[in-house]
């Protein structure tokens, strides 16, 4: 029953909110309370749906096939994350959303997006998967294009990529249906063993390519950063947290349940070149390149958007290792990433709400004015960088061990370069916004209201909590591994009991606490301290007066400018993309010019067509 409600509530929410916003532009409070109640209901239903894992409910009959929806371990995991994050986004929007602007259809599209995503993770056959997938990508387009004029053009970029992905998936579904005779996941999985090499490769490419496009894997990632960073900040948090990870759900489902292990092993030519290595190399590039691009960004949201692309690489590599450590790392990383990226983006939204800008070059010293946002961002970046005691560290630790022990040294190195790049860019983020000297114009900035702070507090608790006790989530991840057919991970409440070395986060955190205590005692031994303002600095003899502000924000990592120069601002993939668009434009210009407008040429076409037809018919007999 709950699975059915899980689809009906968002649908009802979408219709009511759409109608409501169509007729009354005002009614902000009513719209907000409705949205809050709606999303709370969805969260409750998602939690209660746990009891129905494994049951199948039947949707409408289409093309002679009854659509099947049902919960599995992994879909319940995703359902929780989707509903949780959308609830937090709505709570955040209660404070952040102002009259007019994107308000009218904001909640309607949020409900519709939920429906699309929940539909995708609940569908148990590729037809339902495709229908809900198409619905999801269209609602993402409408959600994205709400904000500023720039948002509309970047949303268009997303739409093109999404349409290409849907069309490839469409071809994949048609091909699979013809090759295996039915739409259901299990039926296809049983027939996959019988596929010959050519069909297997085609099926794998047609199914996995759209998933890689949606989860912004390396060569196909150009759409994500501009689209997400120019959307309204609450939506950016929601999308970069969960929307692209549905692509990874697709990768997991198609790799493990539909294609299965045997097919993956068969898909290999020689030891080094097989499906896993291909996906992992894509993942490796996804980890390294976006993180370097993030270093050069001057806008906080764009920097975080590039990190969403980068972190996607970790999940992809984790899933592709197909070892118990790697898959557990990949799945857990989806959860951990979701928590701290939303935390970071909510804090950036809090700053943007008060200062009106997210340009890293013009902010600074806000720690005095928005301490809670600062602490939230601090927890977030420690998580994103993957430093203990936050939860980001555990998922990265799992991925590293699986790569090192799995015999992929250079992949592990790529992962590590990604982490270091993340540390550098997140420090630039927190330094340029909160540290340094406060410009005058932000003197009257105050902390954000309760509704915007609540999600920040909750997420801080979750990031630290699941960091110190990773077992809470890893326990369910192990169940997912069983359902996916991967050997589950030995998990305790405090960490991992893996054979080749153990990780106990309780011990690490408690020792960290102890050493902090010792450091505090050492600190107290010293004399009393005198607190001075931000402008009371030692400048080695140079005279500093109050009017001049010294913030070292612009071009923070100048060394990279010398080493990499412009290579990351106009990368090969961007040139390739522009080349493709130019090709389509030339082709369309050629097609246009066939219709020259001259009457005689048109008549010549008709006569030529008749002669051509006769020749073809003569040739064809």
């Amino acid at each position: 029953m709950n699975t059915f409600l899980l689809l009906i509530f968002p649908l009802a929410g979408f219709l009511i909110a759409a109608l409501f916003s169509a007729f009354s532009k005002k009614g902000l409070v009513v719209g907000k309370t409705f949205a809050f109640l709606g999303f709370s209901a969805i969260v409750l239903v998602a939690i209660m749906a746990k009891s129905e894992i494994g049951s199948i409910i039947y949707g409408p009959m289409m093309f002679g096939w009854q659509l099947q929806f049902g919960l599995t371990a992994i879909s319940w995991y995703f359902a929780l994350m989707i509903s949780g994050i959308s609830w937090l986004t709505v709570v955040f929007s209660l404070g952040a959303l102002r009259e007019g602007g994107t308000y009218p259809m904001y909640y309607a599209w949020l409900f519709a997006k939920n429906l699309g995503m929940l539909g995708v993770i609940l569908s148990q056959d590729i037809l339902a998967f495709f229908i809900m997938w198409e619905f999801m990508s269209w609602t993402t387009y409408f959600l994205l294009q709400q904000g500023t004029k720039k948002a509309r053009s970047t949303a268009m970029g997303y739409l093109i990529y999404a349409i290409i992905a849907s069309m490839i998936l469409f071809a994949g579904i048609i091909f699979l249906h013809q090759a295996s005779g039915s739409f259901g996941f299990s039926e296809i999985a049983s027939t996959v063993a019988g596929f010959d090499m050519r069909t297997l490769i085609l099926a794998a490419v047609l199914l996995l390519a759209p998933m890689l496009i949606e989860s912004a894997a390396y060569p196909l990632h150009r759409w994500m950063a501009p689209a997400y960073s120019s959307a309204e900040t609450g939506i950016t948090a929601f999308l970069s947290a969960i929307s692209t990870r549905i692509g990874l759900y697709g990768v997991a489902i198609f790799l493990f349940t539909v294609l299965g292990f045997t097919a993956m092993k068969k898909l290999s030519a020689g030891h080094y070149f097989n499906l896993q290595v291909v996906i992992m190399t894509i993942g490796a590039f996804t980890m390294v390149v976006p993180t370097f691009t993030a270093l050069f960004q001057h806008d906080a949201k764009k920097l975080m958007a590039w990190h969403s692309v980068g972190q996607g690489g970790y999940m992809l590599v984790g899933l592709a290792t197909a070892t118990s450590l790697g898959v557990a790392g990949g799945l857990f990383h989806i959860f951990t990433y979701l928590t701290y990226v939303t935390l970071i983006l909510f804090c950036i939204a809090a700053v943007e709400y008060r200062t009106g800008t997210t340009n890293l070059n013009s902010l600074g010293g806000l720690i005095k004015k928005q301490p809670i946002a600062y602490v939230g961002l601090l927890f977030g970046i420690i998580g994103l960088a993957g430093i203990p005691p936050m939860n980001g560290f555990v998922s990265k630790w799992l991925i590293y061990r699986s790569l090192i022990l799995g015999g992929h040294p250079f992949l592990a190195l790529a992962a590590f370069i990604g982490t270091l790049g993340t540390i550098l860019s997140v420090y630039k983020l927190i330094h340029n916004i909160f540290l340094g000297q406060l410009p005058e114009r932000y003197n009257d900035v105050k902390e954000v209201g309760f509704f915007m702070q609540l999600p920040i507090w909750i997420l801080m608790l979750v990031v630290l909590g699941t960091g110190v006790f990773p077992g809470l989530i890893l326990g369910w991840v192990a169940k997912i591994q069983v359902s996916l057919g991967v050997e589950p991970l030995a998990v305790t409440l405090s960490g991992v009991q893996a054979s080749a070395g153990q990780l106990n986060m309780n011990v690490v955190s408690s020792v960290f606490g102890a050493t902090m205590l010792v450091a505090f005692i050492i600190f107290l031994i010293g004399g009393r301290r005198r607190i001075v303002g931000q402008y009371n600095n030692y400048a080695a003899g140079h005279f500093l007066d109050k009017t001049v502000k010294y913030n070292f924000n612009y071009n923070f990592y100048s060394a990279y400018e010398h080493i990499f120069g412009k290579r990351f601002l106009n990368p090969p993939v961007k040139r390739g993309e522009e080349g493709l668009v130019a090709l389509v434009e030339r082709a369309s210009d050629f097609a246009r010019r066939i219709y020259t407008g001259g009457l005689n040429t048109y008549l010549a076409y008709s006569l030529g067509a008749v002669i051509l037809m006769v020749v073809i018919l003569k040739g064809a007999i």
């Binding site: 246009r592 407008g597 001259g598 009457l599 006569l607």
Partner: protein
């Protein structure tokens, strides 16, 4: 070369002349004339299909006619085809007239506002 073959060849030639003028002429009125020539050719072709060697006109009279009758059906077709040809040519000429008023010329090379 029997009579029907001569007629077929001449019909085919007429059609070719008509199409040739349609393809090459730039003056629209000449193209319409070409179209009529082609129509003429087709009508001739249709009539010759019904040709019966020394057949008489297919009119039922009280006493039965002496020899075989010519096939009346193609002639019916030619009648309607001529009527249609007339209607189309009339419409075409009015359009050419209005084109001259608006475009100031009836040369197909210059009337190319709508292209690509």
């Amino acid at each position: 070369m029997t009579v029907p073959q001569i007629l077929y060849v001449s019909a085919f030639l007429l059609i070719l002349i008509g199409l040739y003028s349609l393809l090459t002429q730039r003056n629209m009125i000449r193209m319409i004339i070409g179209l009529n020539i082609a129509d003429l050719g087709v009508n001739l072709f249709l009539v010759t299909i019904g040709f019966v060697d020394n057949g008489s006109a297919p009119i039922f009279r009280a006493q039965a006619a002496a020899g075989p009758m010519v096939d009346p059906v193609p002639q019916a077709l030619v009648l309607t085809s001529i009527v249609i040809g007339f209607g189309v040519t009339a419409l075409a000429l009015t359009l050419v007239m209005r084109l001259f008023v608006t475009h100031g010329s009836i040369d197909t090379a210059r009337i190319r506002g709508l292209k690509w």
